[in-house]
């Protein structure tokens, strides 16, 4: 049986302190190992070192040993390493090349120079075993996020590597997606593949993991799959905001008979909703249910196909997103795609300059998000947690009455989550509303007053947060991630 053995692996980027030091673990074929760590803890660096991307494509100093069948492969070329080990990147969409699903699976096999019979056999095997047969002739861009990820796994697996590394595979998945991923990992184990999963959060994957390691620059084993699999275990379920006096005066957002479609079919169907002022509301539901489409109506990025949306009494049909920016701050998912300025200060003052607001707003926002020391730094040098805080700061700089956060917890460590939570509570103290789109049940429980459940384009529930997220039946019915340590909360 082949095995991968990593000994005292370390990595240091030029002129910086080591990102990784003394990382040691082993992985056999037919096993799955989880490595848990916060953003910036060195997970991607570990993956790149194992794959030879560091030091061959990205310059850095590496030391230690990576044994594959007693041969030290550290520092070998990517092309040599992909023969026995491959990587599914955090941004797996960039690994999809084919114009159809089938073509994408063929791509790697043709590059290996296999004959047509072997290629056809492997393609059919992958389509069947990864549940992609139906999508054989689909264009990858038409697939859901979960299916794209499955395609990336399938097209990498067919290349015949003994080991697969998955870098943060759960970050964009809903609970159902995580369960599907668990099944995929179990299947990979059953066919003799060794799987290494690097993630901030392994919740939902515990069953299929043989060992879990904790990574924070250094690495140590937690225990045989009984360790804390969620970095921010919710130990105290008493909400920090329970003592806050909530005064609800009128509605900040009112939706009347909203229908919306991008092309043929309606994505939002007859939505009626009134979000009170001075409230914190979480919007939850499975992937593709219409959550982001719904909140994009709040700042006029999308206009209703039918019906009306009123924000602070204004019909969004009559206002552009730029005009509504004074009223609604919007923090998008995936900061890498939305941060565009050269420095932190340029980014955070962007809205103030456009809207003619005092730059003091930007200073205050930076201070609130604990970013004032980084104002001259280029955003691309920030950690993921700092980037999310920067996006929130640049939305808050416009001093909006309503703040919309789309998946703010994705890939965040506990410290960043704490700062985001503080900013949210501060908004409410100032009499404003916050709307959070999230899959993270624990975060929603910690911060929200109420929760909106969106399913198939309709609002199926709008209730106090405890009534939904502490109700097992509703959690199952709405396909939500079960909260951690639910017993403690109930007591």
């Amino acid at each position: 049986m082949n095995a991968l053995k990593v000994q005292e692996l370390g990595c240091k980027y030029n002129g910086h302190k080591p990102v990784l030091s003394g990382a040691s673990f082993f992985l056999k074929e037919g096993e799955a190992v989880g490595v848990i760590g916060s953003s910036g803890s060195g997970k991607t660096t570990l993956a790149y070192c194992l794959m030879g991307i560091i030091p061959n494509r990205i310059e850095a100093e590496v030391w230690g040993k990576v044994y594959f069948n007693n041969e030290n492969v550290l520092g070998k070329n990517v092309r040599d390493i992909v023969r026995f080990m491959n990587l599914i990147m955090q941004n797996y969409e960039s690994q999809i090349f084919g114009l159809t699903v089938e073509e994408d699976i063929r791509f790697g096999l043709e590059n290996l120079g296999l004959d047509e019979n072997e290629i056809s056999l492997r393609v059919n095997w992958a389509l069947k075993n990864f549940g992609l047969e139906y999508y054989r002739n689909f264009q990858p861009s038409k697939l859901s996020g979960g299916l794209k990820q499955r395609l990336a796994i399938a097209s990498t697996t067919v290349m015949g590597s003994n080991f697969l590394i998955m870098d943060d595979p759960t970050s964009n998945l809903d609970w159902n997606g995580i369960i599907c991923l668990r099944h995929t990992i179990s299947y990979l184990k059953s066919i003799g593949k060794g799987v290494l999963i690097l993630s901030r959060k392994l919740k939902g994957l515990e069953e299929c993991l043989d060992r879990i390691y904790y990574l924070d620059g250094q690495m140590f084993q937690l225990s045989n799959n009984h360790g804390p699999t969620h970095e921010t275990c919710v130990k105290n379920f008493v909400k920090n905001n329970d003592n806050v006096n909530v005064k609800e005066n009128g509605s900040s957002i009112k939706i009347e008979d909203l229908w919306f479609k991008y092309e043929k079919n309606y994505v939002l169907k007859n939505v009626n909703l009134e979000i009170p002022c001075n409230s914190i509301v979480s919007v939850m539901g499975p992937n593709g249910s219409g959550k982001t489409t719904l909140v994009k109506h709040f700042n006029g990025l999308l206009k209703p196909s039918k019906g009306n949306v009123f924000v602070d009494g204004k019909n969004t049909r009559n206002y552009s997103p730029a005009q509504l920016a004074k009223y609604v701050g919007f923090v998008f998912q995936d900061p890498d795609r939305h941060i565009v300025s050269e420095t932190v200060w340029d980014e955070v003052t962007f809205a103030c300059k456009n809207l003619g607001l005092p730059l003091d707003n930007a200073k205050n926002a930076l201070k609130l998000l604990n970013l004032d020391d980084l104002r001259d730094r280029p955003p691309y040098l920030l950690s993921m947690g700092e980037k999310v805080r920067l996006m929130i700061a640049s939305a808050l700089a416009a001093d909006p009455k309503i703040l919309v956060l789309d998946e703010p917890t994705t890939g965040q460590d506990s410290r960043t989550l704490g700062l985001i939570k503080d900013a949210i509570f501060r908004m409410r103290c100032d009499g404003k509303s916050v709307i959070i789109v999230t899959h993270d049940t624990d975060f929603a429980l910690k911060v929200s007053d109420s929760v909106i459940i969106v399913k198939d384009g309709s609002i199926v529930e709008f209730s106090p947060v405890k009534n939904v997220l502490l109700n097992d039946k509703k959690i199952e019915l709405y396909e939500l991630e079960p909260p951690t340590l639910i017993e403690e909360r109930v007591n």
């Binding site: 494509r57 491959n86 960039s94 791509f107 590059n111 264009q139 990858p140 997103p321 919007f330 640049s394």
Partner: protein, 234 residues
């Protein structure tokens, strides 16, 4: 009835050529009618007819220009208006637009790449075209994401006169360029993970042509040939 991608490409290439070879209004009307009838059966017919509606002012401007102004030059001034020239040139423009919309609607990127490869175009060209087509949606998503991010923070893109608008769009286009370069780097890495090299040739598959495909291909080539002879020899 499903046509082979090669048939579709030959049909549209011939039709585009004919649009420039036709010299009579009736010829343009016949070809435009055929294309419109075909477009009616497309799954994207609403999109096609919607876009034609948006283009209506352009057709109107073309008609006015060709009718009233085509005979004016810096050196000569001619008398009269030529309505027939206006109608002819507007119909030609209309035909080119309809054909373009129908082409995009009927020929998928996969079909285009497979068909071009079967015409024995250089491998590097076909592969690059396929990769570019695959990444159009990625660039388009990036553009939308940046635009949404900027407008949500008070940037009015379509405000002011030309220079101001160009400056506004600069806030979207520059980050898009940088993002595209970053994505290209990721793409190279991803290709290496898939053991890509230009020596390992990809196979582009096309099916067999049926009798109807042959009828369409030879008819279109024959029609183009006839009109070429008519215009240049007879």
């Amino acid at each position: 009835m499903k046509f082979d991608p090669r048939t579709k490409i030959i049909f549209f290439t011939s039709a585009f050529t004919l649009a420039f070879l036709f010299t009579e209004i009736i010829e343009l009307i016949i070809l435009a009618s055929i294309t419109l009838v075909l477009s009616f059966f497309s799954v994207e017919r609403n999109k096609i007819f919607g876009r034609l509606k948006i283009m209506a002012p352009v057709f109107l401007v073309a008609f006015v220009l060709w009718t009233f102004l085509n005979q004016y030059s810096l050196f000569h001034v001619y008398d009269g208006v030529n309505v027939m020239t206006g109608v002819f040139m507007t119909l030609r423009l209309f035909l080119i637009v309809v054909l373009s919309l129908a082409f995009v609607s009927f020929v998928t990127p996969v079909e285009l790449v497979n068909a071009l490869a079967s015409f024995r175009l250089p491998y590097k060209l076909v592969f690059t075209l396929g990769l570019s087509l695959r990444h159009i949606s990625t660039v388009s998503d990036e553009y939308i994401a940046i635009k949404e991010g900027q407008t949500s923070r008070g940037l009015e893109l379509d405000k002011g006169f030309l220079v101001r608008r160009i400056k506004n769009y600069n806030s979207v286009v520059m980050p898009l360029l940088i993002r595209s370069i970053e994505n290209a780097e990721k793409l190279v890495l991803a290709m290496e993970l898939k053991s890509f090299s230009l020596n390992g040739r990809r196979r582009y598959s096309v099916g067999k042509l049926n009798s109807l495909d042959y009828v369409v291909i030879f008819s279109m080539i024959a029609v183009v040939f006839i009109f070429l002879l008519r215009n240049f020899l007879w």
